[in-house]
Symmetry: C2
Subunit: 340 residues, 2 copies
């Protein structure tokens, strides 16, 4: 990062007092921004991911336009899978040419060597950290969510095949999640070595699990990840959707910050999480489709639920919806900054 | 119902002790049954709904094959919308020809007169209650979920348009939900008059709302429904998915039983719900794709979480997945019946 960097995001992640609550938005890069859509008319998703200048440009766009306190690398959680040779396209959700169906498929998941397998991602990080005056957040998908794409072959409302494998083939399952954990560790360590100042692990579909299933079949892999990043000294954020009943377990995995979706008021989330982790969230992304007075009311409710406690990163409870007016997001950043 | 009816479902709904825990499965009719699929090769969904002999046959199929303690009317929550002239198809999810976009669309939602508008549904109920030796559960969609189909025009992961209307057009919104509540009351009263012994209100998408939004914008309509059915003296079940944070509010709406999805262990659910309502649930439907020893282990966990308290109807936490082996469900019924 360049000198004079805005450190409010990092301070909040560490639970330190901040002058103003830091704000960023999941999916702030891409999606709703017209300058991104203009680029997408000329380039495919993987073309952007694999071109450091383009990926850096898309990462910078929301920092310029919205005034957020962090950048997040423009990439996708399936990029490392593609980098080790798993055939996957974005249409726009991930679609695998050959889903994992038997233990023999484990052989297709060779160890990730980030510098050799995805140099473009690390070059993007280097380009960005040389320019940004806010921290860059690196990220990866969590093992459960990555496994669900490998097994389902794409998106699924129920994760029926994934859970069937989890229940019926525990040896295959734990080996799969362990390999994915190693992949995530390698990827995030490389992103931090290249300059990322924080990391977020997205377990988007963990909220489809009961607490007992999460504890038995997923927690060992996520715990391994956070332990494997601890020495780096950067904040580690753990995010999932629909995780109200899993919050204690997400914290038990060992992150510094837990992302909370919009359905759990932050006071309840804090009570479940305990005092040792910060929180990130949690405005309903759909609230940003309303007129700004509604957005301001809802953002105030989020801030009120946190009641000024240190260790709060303001964010949406999930990604920006594509139909969001960017000007609403810009005003929201100003509103949160001015609210203290 | 015929003489010698199995009343364990009704007793459990009323919180009375039962000799064995009653079991039924959401979506037990249709979906995974080969005899249903054979029928569907010859008839469309609406053809079945509108033909009392066929609809009764599909309703009876799981009672015969699985040995469940209740039947649930084979229909769909959009059937009353179609019955008042809102153009809707099932492909297989609901798709509206003309979604509701302005307050003027309210005029398209005229009051439902069940005997005139959907006599086939009531004839189906009459046919069934003359034959069944288990209670027949009638059902309807809840206003929020019905409104979401009207406004989105189909399924949506985010309900962006629905929430935008809820936030930005409160007068339109409350009028819409109130009209839908009246429709639900009329429909369920008619089903009970025709012989249904219990009713379930499905608010499948309410779990996408924060507690504050639910309280402000949805609770008045659901409360109206349960109050409008109270004098009938039949158990009223209230179900939604992803409702961990809403359980207190679902109970506050006034049902006798609250359905709990698979992510909230029943002991936690009971603690949030209080002592005045029974619970229904909550095995993960995806667990039924595993070998039976896993199914038995998971069913035991559900029963253990309830710890033998009266007022428990065993069910899945959501609908049967289409790929489920019916034999697993039959064995599960026997297992739960034998577990006490």
């Amino acid at each position: 990062m360049v000198d004079g960097v805005n450190s409010s995001l990092l301070d909040a992640c560490w639970g330190k007092p901040v002058e103003r609550v830091p704000v960023w938005f999941m999916r702030q890069a891409g999606r709703c921004l017209p300058e991104y859509r203009a680029l997408r008319e000329r380039y495919g998703m993987f073309e952007i991911f694999r071109n450091p200048e383009l990926a850096a440009e898309v990462t910078m766009q929301p920092v310029r336009r919205l005034g957020v306190d962090a950048a997040i690398l423009f990439s996708d959680i399936v990029v490392p899978l593609a980098a080790v040779g798993v055939g996957v396209e974005l249409q726009p959700g991930p679609v695998l040419a050959e889903p994992f169906r038997t233990p023999a498929d484990l052989a297709r998941l060779r160890p990730l060597e980030p510098e050799a397998d995805m140099p473009y991602v690390l070059d993007t990080v280097r380009l960005l950290t040389a320019q940004l005056d806010v921290p860059l957040i690196g990220f990866a998908g969590a093992p459960f969510t990555l496994a669900s794409y490998l097994i389902e072959g794409g998106s699924s409302k129920t994760l029926g095949r994934t859970k069937a494998a989890m229940h019926a083939e525990p040896a295959f399952w734990s080996e799969l999640l362990d390999r994915l954990a190693d992949m995530v560790i390698a990827l995030l360590r490389a992103q931090v070595a290249a300059g990322a100042a924080a990391v977020q692990v997205f377990d988007s579909w963990a909220g489809l699990l009961s607490p007992a299933d999460y504890r038995r079949s997923v927690l060992p892999a996520t715990r391994k990840i956070f332990a494997g990043l601890e020495d780096l000294g950067v904040p580690r954020i753990h995010f999932g959707v629909g995780t109200g009943e899993l919050l204690e377990l997400l914290a038990e995995a060992g992150p510094d910050v837990v992302g909370v979706d919009w359905r759990v008021p932050l006071d309840r989330a804090r009570a479940r999480l305990g005092d040792h982790v910060a929180v990130q969230g949690n405005l309903d992304p759909a609230a940003c489709l309303a007129p700004f007075d509604v957005v301001a009311r809802e953002a105030t409710a989020v801030l009120d639920a946190n009641a000024g406690r240190p260790g709060h990163v303001f964010n949406l409870g999930w990604g920006v919806l594509p139909e969001t007016d960017p000007d609403i997001l810009r005003r929201l950043v100003d509103f949160v900054h001015g609210a203290q």
